[in-house]
Symmetry: D2
Subunit: 364 residues, 4 copies
Amino acid sequence: MKAIRLAKPTDGSFVLDDVPTPAPGDGQVLVKVRAAGICGTDRHLWHWDESIRDGLKPPFTPGHEFCGEIVELGKNVTHWKVNDYVSCEMHIVCNRCGACKNGKPHLCANHKVVGIHQDGTFAQYLVLPASNLIKLPAALPPKIGAFLDALGNAVHTALSTELPGRAVAILGFGPIGAMTAAVAEHCGAGAIFITDVNDHNLSRARAWAKQCQNRGTRRTPIHVLDVRGTGRREAIETVKSSTGGDGCDAVLEISGAEVAVNDGLEMLRPGGAMRLLGLTKAKNVNINNYNRDVVFKGVDMQGIFGRRIFDTWHQMLALLNAGLDVDFVVTDECALEDYETGLKRFDRGEAMKVVLYPNGMPKT
Amino acid sequence: MKAIRLAKPTDGSFVLDDVPTPAPGDGQVLVKVRAAGICGTDRHLWHWDESIRDGLKPPFTPGHEFCGEIVELGKNVTHWKVNDYVSCEMHIVCNRCGACKNGKPHLCANHKVVGIHQDGTFAQYLVLPASNLIKLPAALPPKIGAFLDALGNAVHTALSTELPGRAVAILGFGPIGAMTAAVAEHCGAGAIFITDVNDHNLSRARAWAKQCQNRGTRRTPIHVLDVRGTGRREAIETVKSSTGGDGCDAVLEISGAEVAVNDGLEMLRPGGAMRLLGLTKAKNVNINNYNRDVVFKGVDMQGIFGRRIFDTWHQMLALLNAGLDVDFVVTDECALEDYETGLKRFDRGEAMKVVLYPNGMPKT
Amino acid sequence: MKAIRLAKPTDGSFVLDDVPTPAPGDGQVLVKVRAAGICGTDRHLWHWDESIRDGLKPPFTPGHEFCGEIVELGKNVTHWKVNDYVSCEMHIVCNRCGACKNGKPHLCANHKVVGIHQDGTFAQYLVLPASNLIKLPAALPPKIGAFLDALGNAVHTALSTELPGRAVAILGFGPIGAMTAAVAEHCGAGAIFITDVNDHNLSRARAWAKQCQNRGTRRTPIHVLDVRGTGRREAIETVKSSTGGDGCDAVLEISGAEVAVNDGLEMLRPGGAMRLLGLTKAKNVNINNYNRDVVFKGVDMQGIFGRRIFDTWHQMLALLNAGLDVDFVVTDECALEDYETGLKRFDRGEAMKVVLYPNGMPKT
Amino acid sequence: MKAIRLAKPTDGSFVLDDVPTPAPGDGQVLVKVRAAGICGTDRHLWHWDESIRDGLKPPFTPGHEFCGEIVELGKNVTHWKVNDYVSCEMHIVCNRCGACKNGKPHLCANHKVVGIHQDGTFAQYLVLPASNLIKLPAALPPKIGAFLDALGNAVHTALSTELPGRAVAILGFGPIGAMTAAVAEHCGAGAIFITDVNDHNLSRARAWAKQCQNRGTRRTPIHVLDVRGTGRREAIETVKSSTGGDGCDAVLEISGAEVAVNDGLEMLRPGGAMRLLGLTKAKNVNINNYNRDVVFKGVDMQGIFGRRIFDTWHQMLALLNAGLDVDFVVTDECALEDYETGLKRFDRGEAMKVVLYPNGMPKT
């Protein structure tokens, strides 16, 4: 079968190759990949960035977002059948550590990730543990099913705090920030503040905000704020003045920028909620006004990782079924063979979410 | 000034009368009523129902929903000025009991209600404590500002459990049930199940459900279920089969019917949330399958009363500002003098929310 | 091996018998039972009560509380070894239903119970799934390890609401009520109100309350209230007057008595927490003052079932390690052969917790 | 009357002086101070530290911890009477900001503090708003009533996360850290880890830990860890190895040390709770392993400020009534005139909590 392989420990590590189709083991299934999304992590793998090399063992197939059909069942697989349309929670957990034993497997201390620690989705087929699969409704377009793992991050982040009638700032409008904003708008946020420093992202955010004002009776106030230069200070002032001086109810930090963490803390009202999904390039984050912004404010901060298994998945599918619109996130679609075009556009910030079709483009 | 008075301790107790305009005392304001909603409680007062007589001292002016403008400030009133467009939390709390002292004043053990324990809003003017006022945005139509107290009940109920991506049953589609459903739809519920036993309510629910499918990309599945006769059992089956056999995530009980409480418990998934706003006519409620539906299910039940002060108000205004659509709830609008027409239509279930205009109909 | 068998579908259904020692299957272990507690459920089985017959298939070995050592590992059992000192979560869950998939396996819709649906602990040996085992510290006396399943119910109930500095009523002082009270006292409840209608239980409660006043600086106010006859009304008054008129913060209902559910609701402060563990004999429970005690009070009620897997277990072992004293609950200890003496004393309310030793009495 | 005055804007700013006894205004009471605690804030005032000067207007009377009796009622004071034994919430809130309006007045954006922004408790008498008073039980010794404001910080911090059966690290064993530890032990923490870098504090912590092992059946494991030099790393290892490798459930940060914040994050289990009360000297705090310790861990961090009004007070009084033992915190007691001795011992870390008696030492 065809597969993209992380083969060379160097920048530009990906190679399109022919590899044997794997066979499903005990408790596993073989899945035919219909569509697979490219994630920021894949870009790090492609560049063989120092931040991501640790413990990786090339060659392997990257990719951890996808949807597809089951084509073969391994031994002892029950409750699933060939042709089931599925996606999969790509964090393989240990079921032994404290987090797993106490109902928080998404925080498993020993988890492995498909597409990083074992062969992933940038291939025609892959093998997955049946216990991690999730059934998809037939009506869900593969174009969207292609990146549920990423949408799950957004849903997990957005729904980790109360949205209805609340003023929410979303820091960063890359693919996950954009999806987080879509969830916030869909779920009745009272006001949305979006910040970014990238022209592509800002113009996509403005287009999305406009689109949201032309759908039914809904007219959530959406502020798109360029936080370059003096824009940082202005953004904080906009949030404050738009919330009667109090600050916003929640900040969803997706950017992984130290300045965003600090601005977010300043934007928050006393007792507000800060959710931290974005990963920083540097190891450390300097909080500039700890007493004022963390202690005196009684702020409620929470790191967000992965997706609650499977509660986030169930909410995500229900939101999509009710019309959550994340179509605008997909800017590029291409065959597996043409991955480089999409990956390079993504790398330059021109593309948002790139969807690959390893077994042929969909008929339209 | 003109006022509707509860004057006669008998069915049909209301009389339109001329009474002196009151003067605001220390800490109070005089408000000119722009619009006032008729509530189910007012119907009970009109009928002089046994359930509501306790401790009441006619004559007084009923009505506890309204919006209007401040026309005079009493002594020691700061932060408010003449012409401010306002509504008001109509539960006057004691600030002394355990609930008040611990941040739950909406559960005050000694609260009094404007329009029941003191003169209310079915008049050209009324006096209110400044500390209970809430400022309204100029853009909010008086037609909607007229019943924020009731909308607040709906918002309080709906937002007392998680809505986004959750399957929610709303039992009863009278005015508050209808508004609760509107909040659930606006805030991203994954599926909505509405039950009622009244033809008017059921046909209004169906019309609303249809309207919701024609707005933008949103298409929340809304099931309207007639629970008369065998419909009771069918409704439970519909909820179960639509939720993969698990049952719904939340039940919002607005009807005050004993059978609805029981059906709601049966509809719920294990660990689901039941919110209880509806008041029953009888003192007692018989739970039919206590072990099965309450204990084994680990159900989470909560009574809902009033509105969180002022958090519910802030969420409500933010939702309205973002386009929460409750226009469909107002079926009748009339001048104060014509209240009987509206009240009788409401009494027969023909009207949903009736809005009175004590100082003249709005210009259109 | 020796085992007590539920052999006859009639009152007095238990028989001591010799049966083959079972062999552990795939993923299972064989455990040698050191000590096993008798539970109220076992009494129902012994009497072959109508309430418990449903779906049961005699003959089988009852008993679902125990501690012991692993003596043999089945295939594919990792992380466990022979001689490990263990207890076990006796609810075997399906891992497929909504509750299991969303981190609430203790509410599994398809769970089976060891000692009811498969052979239990009133035997020298039994087979258990390795995934349900929990390791016990060597220092934990078998006398206490014998009933962790039941203590887990008490810990689950008590810790499902905030205890520190809170006034807590515990309705029923049978074995689980007594352990719930011990947890509340250990965890800093501000005041404890115990109700019962049985002379044995009341005198044990009074003895325990006295014992609690003679340990270190701790002097939690403990009120033991006989709620027979006029005692019901007096108990409610005592709770109210001891809490400044507000009512208590939490009620833990263990008795399964309809009057207790109602009295508990009346004892609660507005916004208070009611936890419902006790199972009623009748199917229905009549709530006498629904509007007043549930809706207006904004009460927070929750059914409690089983133990959170394994979070409750971890808290329970930590509490025991820190000196949680439940020794007083064990009134009777006997060899497996002498079970009838203990069971009959338990049946008459003379014994509280009876511990059986299937492989010989412990040396002292 | 006699009062300590912050008179000189310089190190050693306090002067004992004679000033006029104030008169209570509208809604105020005059209170005779029975006992008053010295807090770390008072030390900053005494040194006229740069960190605390902002907006202060000497001369004024410092001190914000106390108990005493009402001696005179101002106009419009109801529900209080002369001779009532009281303490007082010393944060005077605005009742207008978002936090105040939404049930979180302890996070008021405009609060003023008695003893900082208006005359405080280091005097024979002071004037206070009646609405902030809290009645004390007669049995509460003035020696303890002297510092309820500080004990309230400890109770607020400790009870902001679940304690029963949980492994809790308390960073810093100054007066508030010591009281936080006492609350954790009283409320059933499963294990307690105490860190400090000061010999006095460490030896007091060890003495307290020993004392806790000799009271009744309780034997909470308490680890006292010197985190100087290599002790930092060893402390983290001790926490991990004592919790099965997972890390502790909660970290209560009282020290205000940047290294403690970082060590605390590392000590925590995935999904654990970090509570941040300690104020840092520097404005910024550098989080060293943000991705690893905040994001991937899904950590739950919360700033803690003041006391929940009045819920923390009610829990605190209930805990004291049930025997919460904080006597060991008081190392020094002296007459108002002798404040310098106590203050200097406190300044050198020799004293823990110093209690002043402005109206004469208590008879013993």
